[in-house]
């Protein structure tokens, strides 16, 4: 018995000693609820202004995520293709899709109730504007998408789609609400990246967004927007974005790190010397420098040439430079580069514009990165002074302080012109075409000054373009251009063409550089222009009517089935 007791005691004392040791060392080890991350804040500590900042930044990145595709399809930029069916992977729209739903929508839901508590109407108005823009654009690019079941988190992990038409209606309701929010004085956002808290300008932008929405669905079966459009137009001077001071645009800065705040395309084209990432579109550049008998001064702002003569480059740099045009390219079609003579290549000429044809999917040849870069407007790059020097890195031009041109005054003029043309008011349409062109030229040529760096329009030593000549004749050239296109004279393009809508849209495209959204929408809405450059590799022009849903969405959402092909039209496209 005693033995057993000793044993017991030994056990007890051993356990005691070890337990003491153990607990001395391990009390923090026994904490079993460490659930709040030290690496982020909790939603309770959010700040309304910071939410609004995030939404505004996402407005910029959302737009940036859709603008290129629209430009590529409308030949404003080069499309790799080679066919429409495989031009884009189904991941193409993932970025803007997630920007819209998992950033803009969720931040909207989290911010608005808190702003409502405080009565911060302007914040709410801006949030509604941004959400409406994102919704409209998702419908424009993808057709029917989730809306009423979207962004509910755990409450619905498989959101179903709503019809595009109903989403347009919902966006219109948000737009109407936003106008009301802007109509009352309220706390200004600490950072309004668009209008510096100017509610009148926000109202103009909201009205312009409404005009865009209603015009866009004018062909839809149940559209009944004429009165509203007419009303918006009749109050244009006071209610719409009609001059460039009212432009709705996302502005970038010049800071290149922490945070890099430059235009993304500037970073791609100018970060490294002589290493241009994108190809410009041959057909688009030709519209500025080869197709008209007048000078279009925007060319010097849109495009930056690094090479004075492309025709002396060898085949390895421009692989098409010894090829014949495909049979389905007419003789008037640009092929390979501006000035290329495919019958007798040795007779080719070149003014240095070096882009690619629609759907040319050749690999990147060893061309020294010297192809034509995007220029000063709108990405904040270098003004083309004809010095033909290679891009020398990120300290050029506006240093990336470009814009995303989302709703510019010129666009309003072109939209009004279209509405009038559709309604048979040809002369009014012409006037708005002319004023739209004037706005576009004013915007582009004044862009460096607008960005606070007029000196970025520089004429360096070695420039083949004379500063005095260029600037001295600038306004005369602009006037001549407008007169040539939209003048009252009998020989103006407007007065000589039977395809006035084609002309109007063509000129709209030339003003839209940087905004593929309006170009792609306008192309599908008007079916103009009808003579865009065909794909290089096929006669089939079964253009993308809407984009595929993002693959990750389809893979993970059992309520969403992928479209059968890229020819599915959105609701307003009849």
């Amino acid at each position: 018995m005693k033995k057993l007791n000793t044993f017991k005691n030994k056990i007890i004392s051993s356990i005691t000693v070890l337990t003491v040791l153990f607990s001395l060392n391990s009390c923090e080890t026994l904490e079993l609820e460490i659930l709040e991350s030290p690496n982020a804040l909790t939603p309770a500590s959010s700040d309304i202004d910071f939410y609004l900042n995030a939404m505004q930044l996402n407005m910029g990145s959302f737009f940036n995520g859709v603008k290129d595709e629209g430009m590529e399809l409308t030949r404003m930029m080069h499309l790799y293709g080679p066919f429409y069916e495989n031009a884009y992977a189904t991941t193409q729209m993932s970025g803007p899709w997630n920007d819209a739903y998992s950033d803009i929508f969720t931040d909207f839901s989290n911010m608005v109730p808190r702003a409502e508590e405080k009565g911060w109407e302007t914040h709410i108005g801006i949030a509604k504007f941004i959400k409406a823009y994102a919704m409209i654009t998702l419908v424009d690019y993808l057709g029917d998408v989730p809306y009423s079941q979207a962004a509910l988190g755990v409450e619905n992990l498989n959101p179903g789609v709503d019809s595009g038409a109903s989403i347009y209606d919902a966006a219109l309701a948000l737009i109407q609400e936003a106008k009301n929010h802007f109509s009352v004085p309220a706390q200004s956002p600490s950072n309004d990246l668009f209008y510096g808290g100017d509610r009148a300008k926000w109202t103009r932008a909201t009205n312009t967004l409404e005009l865009k929405l209603r015009l866009q669905r004018r062909n839809a079966a149940d559209s009944n927007d004429a009165a509203a459009i007419n009303s918006l137009i009749s109050n244009a001077a006071s209610g719409l974005i009609v001059s460039k001071a009212q432009d709705f645009q996302f502005k970038y800065g010049t800071l290149n790190a922490s945070p890099d705040s430059r235009h993304p395309q500037f970073v791609d084209d100018y970060e490294l010397a002589a290493d241009v990432a994108y190809y410009m579109s041959n057909a688009y550049m030709a519209e500025f420098v080869a197709q008209k008998d007048v000078i279009d001064v925007r060319a010097n702002y849109y495009f930056y040439r690094q090479d004075d003569d492309v025709s002396d480059n060898d085949d390895n740099e421009i692989p098409c430079g010894n090829e014949r045009r495909p049979d389905h390219y007419s003789l008037s079609e640009i092929f390979c580069y501006i000035g290329y003579n495919d019958v007798t290549p040795s007779l080719s000429t070149s003014n240095g514009y070096w882009g690619r044809d629609h759907g040319d999917n050749d690999g990147i040849p060893p061309d020294g990165g010297l192809r034509t870069a995007a220029g000063l407007y709108p990405i904040g790059g270098q003004f083309d002074d004809g010095s033909f020097t290679a891009t020398s890195g990120n300290q050029m031009g506006l240093k990336g302080a470009g814009i995303q041109p989302i709703l510019l005054s010129s666009y309003t003029h072109f939209m009004i012109a279209e509405w009038n043309l559709v309604n048979g008011n040809t002369e009014v349409a012409r006037q708005f075409l002319a004023s739209g062109l004037a706005e576009s030229f004013s915007k582009v040529t004044g862009f460096a000054a607008e960005m606070g760096n007029a000196a970025a329009v520089e004429f360096r030593s070695g420039a083949s373009i004379s500063e005095t000549e260029f600037l001295g004749s600038l306004q005369a050239n602009i006037d001549a251009y407008i007169d040539y296109v939209a003048g009252t004279g009998a020989t103006s393009l407007w007065n000589t063409t039977n395809d006035k809508m084609g002309l109007l849209v063509q000129e709209y495209f030339l003003a839209l550089f940087g905004n593929g959204v309006e170009a792609y929408n306008t192309f599908r809405r008007t079916d103009k222009p009808s003579d865009l450059q065909p794909l290089l590799k096929t006669v089939n022009n079964d253009m993308i009517q809407s984009f595929f849903y993002p693959r990750t969405e389809v893979d993970n959402n059992n309520q969403l089935n992928q479209k059968s092909d890229h020819l599915q039209k959105v609701f307003w496209d009849n």
């Binding site: 056990i11 051993s14 356990i15 040791l21 153990f22 080890t29 904490e31 079993l32 460490i34 659930l35 982020a40 959010s46 939410y51 900042n53 995030a54 930044l57 495989n86 992977a89 189904t90 993932s94 997630n98 819209a100 739903y101 998992s102 929508f105 969720t106 839901s109 998408v145 979207a150 962004a151 988190g153 755990v154 950072n191 800065g253 010049t254 800071l255 290149n256 790190a257 922490s258 945070p259 705040s261 010397a273 002589a274 290493d275 060898d314 390895n316 495909p326 690999g363 060893p366 010297l370 020398s392 890195g393 990120n394 590799k537 096929t538 006669v539 693959r551 990750t552 893979d555 059992n558």
Partner: protein
């Protein structure tokens, strides 16, 4: 009572006085080699001695009493002491009868009692292999363990998967336990980016392979139940020479010293030597090597166009590449003397000259003193490993001290304390798609050097301007000169690490004992990623990223164990215990961009700074029990259970109970037919085990991301907060793994040991990072979704073919086959990819229901309904938009065979390894063949017509393409399926030739023994289905440690190491 006791004492001493005598002798193995540390016990008592280093013993004993001689791994022998004073004993090698194996928590169990497979690898297979990474020394040596080098870069990480992957998005790396305490084996990295993960070391690199006594690998869940959820991916138990588990040695002092020197030589592709840079046989300073023949007798000046200057009998001379640099500020005025000079068009062998043979020097010293009541051991190790890539280096210093002893009051104490200093630096080695780096964060040295055209004078051209910019042969200067990269960019990891353990134990009585062990592992890692300004890839303005990371693991283990012989037949053993494990991680990071003065990599020299941090802590608390019965030493039953609580999950879901049971039945002891000359021994075993998996920290709550530097339009930096895209999941539960394992261990024909295990493992409630449809408002969450199954078979065998004293030939090997199957991925999900996309032509790993984990998908050639390939008007294949299945990266089976021959002091062993099947994507093959620096046997001036029909016309394709286009547009940049290869590989993985200097020779020296060993690692390999000239090594993983498989993106050549080791004892 008192009188009785006195009487007994008297009787006893009288007897001692009469019969007592001293017996001495030597205990040796069947080869005559002495066995140091063998136990000599007086039968029926606990008194005895151990043999010294030379196997000598001396014991006072009575005549007529039995002495019991035993040694781990040998059959115990009992001898009655007669009149002799000298008793030399030869112990025969044991089969599994008496072998003792270390199992979970360091418990020593008789091998025969185990219901599961444990593989032990001894120090001789680990030490002095010219490799600083202990995991790499284990490659191919353990059935069921798949070890993959990420690259051959010295210091790079190593991927270890035991019995297949059981988690899709979680970690599948095993738990390392060093001297009884959990050991941090993670890969940290300041970049945290997938495509740069390869740069990071695995932290088991901090162990010194030369101080390791042995490694036991616990593979199945039944074997690892007691380690809790951390052991679910298998456990690598490492016993160091400092650890209390080290094998007992003879009393006295022993000093051993070894030193090895290895040459580390890259295995480069077999470059062709006839053609230089250009395209379509036309010369140009291009990426591609499709230019004219070097021989002026064969080439034609017209092939050089306007580049041509003159030719002589040996070479054509062209204008200098720096004449063509578009950005003239790179060239003028400083290289004006080069501009305008002629440049010989010849084979400069740039790549071969760029790499150099590395040198690996390893020294290790071990000091040991063993006394009556314990031992003290000190180890020192130093490795200096120069890689074959310029400025790749690994330096490592290890100190360790350990000991164990019994105090007078019976308390046993033991402890170890280790310090490791690891200093690793490499130029950036991020994955590459054929040129430059995939990661926008960094450049890649291999991505810029491996495809260097033969005519580029890599080592002769200036590579840096005086203001520090990279300059190279292309007119756009768009390739970062690899020499510039080697000089100006690096990733470094400097690790200071302290780990060790403190243990107390006490035998309460013969049956009960109690123990406590505290383990600590503190890793402090200072990481740097830098590139001076003036580069082309990554940040051209200069970048300097630093990371301070501290990982701490504390572990308490408390056990009460007992052991009792209940009857003659039945014995019972068991333990109960608790363990508390705490892991904390703190990381502080700075990113500095826009360098001011070239070359100075300090934060003050940068314009912009941003900071980041990451902290995490996790506690796991467990209570466990283990009960084992044995019946008549032929039937064993073991039952285990453990309850775990984890701090990472919500209170209602934070614990899980799991259990295991196993039976071992020594059939040969019961069934006479199994105990003859054919079957000598047969054991059947069956085991079932479970384990839990808890989520990583902070997966249950949603977060708000704050960005203090969100944007600057020009009027100051603004801030933003946004709802995190990761949705917290409060309902998250632990995942449950279960495994059933059956096996048979046999000894046949008195010379062949043959052991087979088969297992079937399943994970349910898989904790998976799931991509959410963006329309939910979030992009990812952590869910319990799906079921994954892994089945496999493992064989270990060894055969003593010849064993006649002087000559011995032993053959041994292993075989592994396993297959995983994704049973489900949760409702509505049929597949997802868990590796990022780089381009539609490059594969990603997928989890697809009904397939093994890791299937590769990439775009493929479009076909028509008849299955014919569609060809475009230019004569090329047309790629699909959507990815299709292109390969299964899981090998069908792998095997290794070692021949071990010894004759007197001379021994030779060599190991062949073979991998059968499993697909790999090789960017190396695609790029190097496609760009024409390799010649796989094609006629590069020929024309090809791809098999298929024209997409537009429907007619059979007749459009010719050139060999250069075939290489470039089809093989190199065509649809992804064309770059997938079967990765069957045969490899001579290791050869050792060693010589033990005879003892007779040593007698007059201070040495106790001296051994010289010549070792070759990876001397030969051939991936038989990849073009030979590529010298592709399937033992690579460009994506670093993780769950990706079969992806090789130009992360450097393989290497072979040859070296000499001298080992001496004093």
């Amino acid at each position: 009572m008192k009188i009785t006791r006195i009487f007994f004492v008297f009787l006893l001493s009288a007897g001692l006085a009469f019969g007592q005598k001293t017996v001495t002798g030597v205990v040796s193995d069947p080869n005559g080699l002495p066995l140091p540390g063998a136990t000599v016990l007086i039968s029926g008592t606990t008194s005895g001695v151990t043999t010294d280093f030379d196997g000598n013993y001396s014991i006072e004993v009575e005549e007529g009493v039995s002495l019991v001689f035993s040694f781990v791994g040998y059959e115990t022998q009992s001898v009655v002491v007669g009149s002799q004073n000298n008793l030399n004993i030869t112990l025969s090698e044991g089969n599994q009868l008496s072998e003792v194996v270390v199992t979970a928590l360091g418990l020593e169990r008789e091998a025969r009692s185990l219901g599961y497979a444990v593989t032990t690898v001894g120090s001789e297979e680990i030490e002095q292999k010219g490799v600083a990474d202990v995991a790499r020394t284990l490659t191919g040596k353990v059935a069921g363990v798949n070890i993959t080098n990420t690259t051959a870069t010295s210091g790079s990480g190593t991927n270890i998967i035991i019995r297949g992957m059981t988690s899709i998005t979680g970690s599948n790396q095993p738990l390392f336990v060093v001297d009884g305490v959990p050991f941090n084996s993670s890969t940290n990295g300041e970049s945290g980016t997938f495509w740069n993960g390869i740069t990071e070391s695995s932290r088991f690199l901090d162990l010194d392979p030369n101080s390791i006594e042995k490694v036991d690998v616990l593979k199945g869940l039944n074997a690892t139940v007691l380690y809790g959820q951390q052991g679910r991916n298998g456990v690598i138990l490492i016993t160091t020479k400092n650890g209390a588990g080290a094998k007992p040695s003879a009393k006295g002092t022993e000093v051993s010293v070894s030193h090895s020197t290895f040459i580390n030589e890259p295995v480069l592709p077999d470059y062709q030597n006839d053609y230089g840079g250009g395209f379509h046989q036309l010369f140009g300073f291009f990426f591609s090597n499709g230019g004219p023949n070097f021989d002026p007798a064969i080439n034609d000046p017209r092939q050089f166009g306007s580049y041509f200057l003159r030719e002589d009998a040996n070479n054509v001379y062209v204008k200098h590449p720096y004449d063509y640099i578009a950005n003239r500020s790179l060239v003028e005025p400083e290289f004006s003397d080069i501009v305008g000079t002629e440049y010989a068009y010849k084979n400069y062998r740039g790549v071969e000259n760029f790499f150099e043979n590395g040198l690996v020097n390893t020294t290790s010293i071990n000091l040991r003193s063993t006394g009556d009541n314990g031992f003290l051991n000190m180890s020192f190790g130093r490795t200096d490993d120069e890689g074959f890539t310029p400025n790749n280096r690994l330096r490592k210093t290890n100190f360790g001290l350990g000991g164990a002893g019994t105090l007078e009051n019976g308390i046993k104490i033991n402890g170890t304390l280790n310090y490791a200093n690891t200093d690793y630096t490499t130029p950036p080695i991020a994955a590459s798609l054929g040129s430059g780096s995939v990661s926008t964060y960094t450049s890649s040295i291999f991505g810029d050097v491996m495809y260097t055209p033969r005519s580029v004078d890599l080592m002769g051209l200036p590579y840096q301007t005086s203001d520090g910019r990279s300059i190279y042969y292309r007119s756009g200067n768009d390739i970062q000169n690899p020499r510039w990269t080697a000089e100006n960019a690096f990733d470094k990891e400097l690790v200071n690490r302290v780990f060790g353990s403190f243990g107390l134990a006490y035998d309460i009585n013969d049956n009960w004992s109690i123990s406590y062990k505290y383990g600590i592992d503190n890793t402090s890692q200072y990481s740097q990623h830098a590139q001076n300004k003036g580069g082309v890839d990554g940040n051209a303005t200069g970048i300097y990223v630093t990371g301070d990371e501290i990982t701490t693991i504390q572990n308490h283990n408390f056990t009460l164990s007992f052991n009792q012989q209940l009857t003659d037949e039945i014995s019972l053993g068991g333990l109960v215990g608790t363990s508390a494990n705490r892991q904390t991680f703190t990381g502080r990071y700075t990113t500095n961009e826009n360098q001011l003065v070239f070359g100075v990599l300090k934060p003050f020299n940068f314009v912009s700074q941003s900071v980041g941090s990451f902290d995490a802590e996790q506690n796991i608390y467990g209570a466990f029990g283990d009960l084992s019965f044995s019946y008549n030493d032929y039937l064993y039953l073991n039952v285990t259970g453990r309850q775990d609580w984890s701090s990472t999950m919500e209170a209602e879901n934070n614990s899980l109970f799991y259990k295991g049971a196993s039976i071992s039945f020594i059939a040969s002891d019961v069934i006479p037919a199994l105990s003859g000359d054919v079957v000598n021994y047969a054991k059947l075993r069956v085991g079932y085990g479970e384990s839990a998996g808890f989520a990583n920290p902070y997966r249950t709550r949603s977060l708000l991301s704050l960005n203090a530097k969100a944007f600057d339009q020009g009027s100051g930096v603004i801030q933003a907060n946004t709802t995190s895209n990761t949705l917290g999941n409060r309902a998250l539960q632990p995942e449950l793994l279960s495994e059933i394992e059956i096996g048979i261990d046999t000894r046949l024909f008195n010379f062949l040991n043959f052991n087979v295990s088969a297992y079937d493992k399943e994970t349910t409630n898989l904790i998976t990072t799931r991509t959410l449809p963006g329309s939910t408002g979030y992009t990812s969450t952590t869910v319990n979704a799906g079921k994954l199954n892994v089945k496999g078979i493992e064989v270990d065998w060894d055969a003593d073919l010849i064993n006649n004293g002087n000559l011995r030939w032993n053959l041994y090997g292993n075989f592994t086959a396993e297959e995983s199957l994704i049973v489900s991925l949760g409702e509505g999900v049929e597949e997802f990819t868990y590796t990022p996309v780089v381009s539609s032509a490059r594969p990603q790993n997928y989890a697809i229901v009904g397939y093994p984990l890791g299937m590769m998908k990439a775009n493929v050639r479009q076909t028509n309904d008849a299955g014919e390939f569609l060809i475009d008007d230019d004569g090329f294949y047309i790629a699909t938009t959507e990815p299709e299945l292109v390969g299964d990266p899981n090998p069908d089976w792998t095997t290794g065979i070692t021949n071990s021959l010894s004759w007197k002091g001379l021994s030779l062993d060599f190991t062949w390894q073979y991998r059968h099947g499993g697909d790999m994507f090789s960017q190396d093959a695609a790029t190097l063949v496609g760009r024409g620096v390799l010649n796989p046997g094609t006629n590069r001036e020929g024309l090809y017509v791809l098999d298929g029909v024209n997409k537009n016309t429907g007619q059979v394709n007749t459009t010719q393409i050139t060999a250069i286009n075939y290489g470039f547009d089809v093989f190199s940049f065509g649809p992804g399926e064309l770059q997938i290869f079967d990765a069957t590989t045969i490899r001579l993985s290791e050869v050792n030739l060693s010589y033990d200097f005879p003892r007779s020779l040593m007698e007059k020296t201070p040495f106790g023994s001296l051994t010289a060993t010549l070792t070759g690692i990876n001397l030969f390999y051939d991936a038989v289905n990849v073009p030979d000239v590529v010298n592709f090594d399937s033992n690579t993983l460009s994506t670093g440690v993780g769950n990706a498989m079969g992806l090789s993106f130009i992360t450097g050549p393989s290497s072979r190491r040859v070296g000499l080791t001298l080992k001496a004892t004093f």
